[in-house]
């Protein structure tokens, strides 16, 4: 039996039947028969926590792809997830503790956010430049490199952002990750910025119309974002962008985000920076 040690705050506690939708070396996505939580993930503890993921030490048992196939059935009973194909894989989720969500913003210090955004743009540029061997100096240059569509003014044509759904490759296309970054910023600004909620809802309406232009998994994460649910690293990065007063805290948080997926972290970060620049700083 493996023990899950952390779980997201949206993870189901009731029994469900599920099927493995996709499996990677240290993680898998599961389609469940629950209406409220149609997707859950099983992730290695080293991967970034999402609201619908249980995390376990998968590293210790070797590659999951050797043990589990897409389409394998699994069942949660009494908090225990059991796979039918490999009788040995039992995951106890009762032992998992919910990870802490970032607290709501109370005030905005424009000087601090400007300073932190500047530092973060530099880190993004450095990371992309070293990884892709091209010179990128700002989030805007990176967004251009990705070929994403941007409105002339976010306050007027925010719905145009939804055109990016499904743009790019991978399990979560760059356009989708970018949008999650934008939504995450607007979501956290709703308590402190007069127009954040309106903007969020405009984009939400536009995304809901085009949600079927991307794949199932990415649509799941986008849908969570539309209901204000974001992964642990994204929530805390935004929190730190507004509150961090020392470079090392922010540096640590940014690098944790940049290291997510092949480019997912960088794409989301680009969305975060774009939104902060255009909503708050310009």
């Amino acid at each position: 039996m493996m023990l899950s040690l952390t779980k997201g705050y949206l993870c189901p506690t009731t029994s469900f039947n599920g099927k493995v939708h996709s499996v990677f070396r240290r993680s898998m996505n599961i389609k469940t028969d629950l209406v409220d939580t149609p997707w859950v993930s099983l992730l290695d503890t080293r991967l970034s926590a999402t609201p619908t993921a249980y995390q376990c030490d998968f590293e210790s048992i070797g590659a999951l792809t050797n043990k589990i196939n897409v389409g394998d059935t699994l069942f949660m009973r009494g908090g225990m997830i059991r796979l039918k194909s490999t009788l040995n894989l039992e995951i106890n989720t009762l032992t998992a503790i919910q990870w802490q969500q970032a607290p709501a913003l109370l005030t905005i210090n424009h000087y601090r956010i400007k300073n932190n955004v500047g530092m973060t743009e530099a880190l993004l540029g450095k990371y992309i430049s070293s990884k892709k061997q091209l010179t990128i100096n700002s989030a805007a240059e990176y967004i251009q490199h990705l070929g994403l569509t941007l409105p002339n003014c976010i306050y007027i044509h925010s719905d145009k952002l939804a055109k990016n759904i499904g743009h790019g490759k991978g399990l979560t296309p760059s356009g989708d990750d970018f949008l999650i970054g934008v939504l995450a910023v607007l979501s956290s600004l709703k308590t402190v910025h007069p127009q954040a909620e309106t903007l969020f809802n405009h984009i939400k309406t536009a995304i809901q119309l085009d949600i079927n232009k991307t794949n199932e998994i990415s649509a799941h994460y986008l849908t969570l974002a539309l209901f204000h649910h974001f992964s642990h690293p994204v929530q805390w990065l935004i929190h730190d962008l507004f509150t961090a007063t020392d470079a090392s805290t922010l540096n640590h948080r940014v690098m944790a985000n940049l290291n997510i997926g092949a480019s997912s972290g960088a794409d989301t970060l680009a969305g975060i920076l774009y939104c902060l620049n255009n909503v708050l700083l310009n």
Partner: protein, 470 residues
């Protein structure tokens, strides 16, 4: 509950089998279980058990206990006299014995005989009558070996002048555990023999043999015991009742080191011939290694993992990690075995010795698949041996990847007995054991297979459950 209405119904049926067959006839899916009353039919025990099932704090504690057990690295580091290693033995006339605590009057013949022998060996008395008088006068006290982190096979007698193997666990703060030396077969103290020849042999072991082994260890450096056990499991031993391969493997490390010592050649010759004449020489080291691994798992609050199983010739006793030093005892189950010619079941003492520590650690009866020779004792087949090892998977927390079983496609041995699973699944831990004659000093009269009695586990769970409520 809503979920049930949208899922396919699959029924686990406990009780009347006709309910399951009716569901199947009606086109549903039902599994007719072979339900058994849990906890040996003890209603209160069964209720206590029910509350303990699938409880996160227990699963977490058991995982910790299991991790510590698996991480243990038993190293043979030294040989010491018992009085030095366990200072209490030097302070008063104390003799250690196998199994849970038991007063003198209730001890079985072999343990009483061995204790009298130890008194003579320590020269606390000149003859057996004097020795017995000393006991009746209350001048000699007795305690289980386990109370001092020591183990001994059969009677398991340890007194201050006996040599002990010292085994350390570098992964657990170099905690030390001990075992006595194996005397060989025939008329020996551990079966209750106390004749002058027995005492003489003990004296030689406490001096010449102990010195040689101590000097040998200086030359060899610490000897890792787990790899020897692991290899022996691939060579037909289960390192409880069969230690022929393990003893040979130990000799391969021991002889070169011994030859490098400055001990006189004749002494080395006597030592080597003593060891080579005894296929069970490694047994006491196997037991110390197992005790070392399990000591690491002791005293973890909320853990239901069994850390000790031991017998004193009358009662079988266990300890759980989460209930500390409390013993839970029940009369030992009879041994199903073969007897040497001339002996029968009426001559047998009840199950005896600390050697069930091997099963507690996942070897011995749990690794029977690696030692088909052992099943012959009960007229079984190699298939029975592998099935026994498989059955143990139903009552353990996991497997020990350090010990693998070729007959089971190199599956890890089942290890880390969960008292809850024993009581819930009605599967008893299997123990390979020697059979002692009930009279002191006759020696081993057979060998066979027995099980741990259910009641120990049920009592332990009830105490564990009561403890949790506070």
């Amino acid at each position: 509950m809503k979920a049930l209405f949208t899922q396919k119904l699959t029924v686990l049926n406990a009780g009347l089998a006709s309910f399951a067959s009716n569901i199947e006839r009606a086109g549903g899916e039902a599994i007719a279980m072979n339900w058994q009353p849990p906890a040996g039919g003890d209603r209160q025990g069964g209720l206590a058990l029910a509350e303990l099932l699938n409880q996160p704090e227990i699963e977490l504690a058991n995982q910790t206990a299991m991790e510590r057990y698996l991480a243990a690295q038993p190293m043979l580091v030294d040989v010491m006299l018992a009085g030095e290693a366990i200072p209490t033995l030097a302070e008063k006339k104390l003799i250690l014995h196998a199994g849970p605590p038991i007063p003198w009057q209730e001890m079985c013949g072999p343990v009483q005989g061995a204790i009298l022998g130890a008194i003579l060996f320590e020269k606390w008395a000149d003859d057996l009558e004097q020795a017995e008088a000393l006991i009746h006068a209350g001048e000699v006290t007795f305690e289980p070996c386990h109370h001092f982190d020591a183990v001994g096979p059969m009677a398991g007698i340890i007194s201050r002048s006996m040599p002990l193997w010292v085994v350390e666990n570098p992964n657990n703060g170099n905690e030390r555990v001990y075992s006595n030396f194996n005397e060989g077969l025939g008329k020996v103290l551990r079966f209750g023999a106390n004749s002058p020849a027995v005492i003489e042999r003990l004296e030689w072991m406490g001096t010449e043999l102990a010195q040689a082994m101590k000097a040998m260890l200086v030359q060899s450096g610490p000897i890792e015991l787990k790899p020897i056990m692991a290899q022996a499991l691939h060579m037909g031993d289960e390192v409880h009742n069969r230690n022929a391969a393990a003893t040979g493997l130990l000799l391969k490390q021991l002889v070169p080191a011994l030859l490098n010592t400055a001990e006189p050649k004749e002494q080395i010759q006597r030592v080597i011939s003593f060891i080579t004449a005894n296929d069970h020489f490694f047994l006491n080291l196997s037991m110390a290694a197992c005790k070392c691994m399990l000591k690491a798992a002791e005293n973890i609050p909320n853990s239901t993992m069994v850390t000790v199983m031991a017998r004193n010739g009358v009662n079988f006793g266990i300890r759980l990690s989460g209930t500390g030093n409390t013993w839970f005892q029940a009369p030992a189950n009879p041994v199903d075995g073969l007897f040497f010619p001339g002996y029968g079941v009426e001559d047998a003492a009840a199950d005896l010795g600390d050697s069930a520590i091997t099963e507690t650690a996942g070897v011995g009866g749990f690794a029977m698949a690696s030692s088909p020779a052992i099943v012959k004792f009960v007229g079984g087949t190699p298939i029975d041996a592998t099935n026994n090892s498989r059955a143990m998977q139903a009552i353990t927390l996991g497997g020990n990847p350090a010990f693998t079983l070729p007959a089971l496609n190199f599956a890890p041995t089942a290890a880390g007995i969960d008292a809850r699973k024993v009581a819930d699944h009605s599967v008893l831990p299997i123990i390979n054991t020697g059979i002692a004659h009930k009279q002191a000093g006759v020696g081993q009269i057979g060998a066979g297979i027995t099980t741990a009695p259910m009641q120990c586990f049920v009592d332990a769970l009830q105490t564990f459950a009561a403890q949790r409520e506070h």
